[in-house]
Amino acid sequence: MRIRSNRLLFFVVSVFFCLSLIALSVTGVLAPLQGLLAAPLQVVQSAINSVLQRGSTLAEDLLEIQTLQQRNRDLERQLAAFQAELVDLREIAQDYDRLAALVNYTRSRTDEEYVVADVIARDISGFRRVIYLNRGARDGLTSGMPVITERGLVGRIIGVSATASQVLLVLDTTSAVSARLQASRAEGSVQGQLTDTLLMTFIDLNATVQEGDTVITSGMGGNFPAGIIIGQVTSVARSEFELFQEAEVRSLNNFERLEQVLVITNFQPVDLSAFE
């Protein structure tokens, strides 16, 4: 009974105390005390909020990092795709340039018919200078047809399958092309060298040969049409004790980077074996 009355008293006092606090607070009497008591709490609140804010910012930054990493991966993928596309476009542009040059060349020689062919392989033996084209008998190619670019003579076809053909380059040591110096009209024979250069031999001792002279096919022998550029003279070797003089010739073609060539299809090599 006493405990109950104590509790009731305690409760009533507590409620009265609270109501008094409310009344004093509402009237503003407690405002200075409230401010004083609240100040340390607010300092702690502020400090914790600051830490929380930093934590929140850190968490956002971490999330942002993940987003950025994902975005970076996406961009890298896109970049790779664009790079591949760029490579394709550059290839197309280079193909266009080469084909445009070939077309210009063919327009300047309207008497000849051509088939454009891509170089698909090179001889890997190291001592033969042979390339393979993606055109063959189905495209009307036959052995002996000259192969050229807009920069000059490349070689001649020595073997044909249905869909491909084999070209012996002028650089090959077994290749010999009847040639003429364009300026002096002196004739000779251009042969391939193991050093990937050309050597014009059998030039008359009396002929004037100068560095920079253009060497063209002479048409003699019937293996090539006349007037195709072979190269330019880079040096001349003349000796009083020799019957002929020689000249080193540099082709304007870069045989290591040949990609497209023209095959002259309306030229048939002349067969002179009947007169031997």
């Binding site: 104590n6 509790r7 305690f10 409760f11 507590s14 409620v15 105390f17 609270c18 109501l19 008094s20 606090l21 409310i22 004093l24 607070s25 509402v26 407690l30 409230q34 008591l37 609240a38 709490l41 607010q42 702690v44 609140q45 914790i48 909020n49 929380l52």
Partner: protein, 171 residues
């Protein structure tokens, strides 16, 4: 009532108020959030008894009102009434039962909010009663039901170390 328990209320409830005003709003769902001060006062009141519960209710309410915009004493009054009711009702059965404590938190939350709203209404601050009970009180009550479990455990462990022990006269 032992004096130590009353003094303990100040640091414990200060910590609860600080957590309530800083961390707890981060887990707000709808308008509701757990009321750590209420839960701590209720748990300690159920464990330590009626009179200690009253002291904790007044101290907790005052501390909470210091960092809120309600008139000083409002939360104290609400806590005093809810903790007194819980202590008296559960005192008839088993005040140290976790299930009862959680149910007291669930039922006590609307009572607490209602008293605060009535005081605010009485002091000229009119809040939409139904909306507030629906959007703030209901989620808070569910929150308090759940959070009461760890709070009661922690408070119980703390109370076990802080309460006065019987000392044998032969020691």
């Amino acid at each position: 009532m032992d004096g130590l328990s009353g003094y303990l209320s100040i640091p414990v409830l200060t910590l609860a108020v600080i957590l309530q005003s800083t961390l707890v709003p981060e887990v707000r769902i709808s308008g509701g959030m757990p009321d750590l001060v209420f839960l701590a006062v209720l748990a300690w009141g159920l464990l330590a008894g009626f009179q200690v519960g009253m002291v904790w209710a007044i101290v907790g309410g005052v501390l909470q009102d210091l960092v809120s915009s309600v008139p000083l004493g409002t939360t104290s009054l609400a806590l005093v009434m809810v903790v007194a009711a819980a202590s008296l009702i559960l005192g008839q059965v088993n005040p140290r039962n976790l299930l009862y404590a959680s149910l007291a938190a669930l039922v006590g939350t609307p009572a607490l909010h209602l008293i605060v709203l009535l005081v605010l209404l009485a002091t000229g601050q009119n809040y939409p009663l139904i909306d507030t009970l629906l959007h703030v009180t209901l989620p808070s009550a569910i929150y308090n039901l759940i959070v009461m479990v760890p709070v009661y455990r922690i408070t119980g462990a703390f109370y076990a170390t802080a309460r006065p022990r019987r000392v044998s006269r032969f020691e």
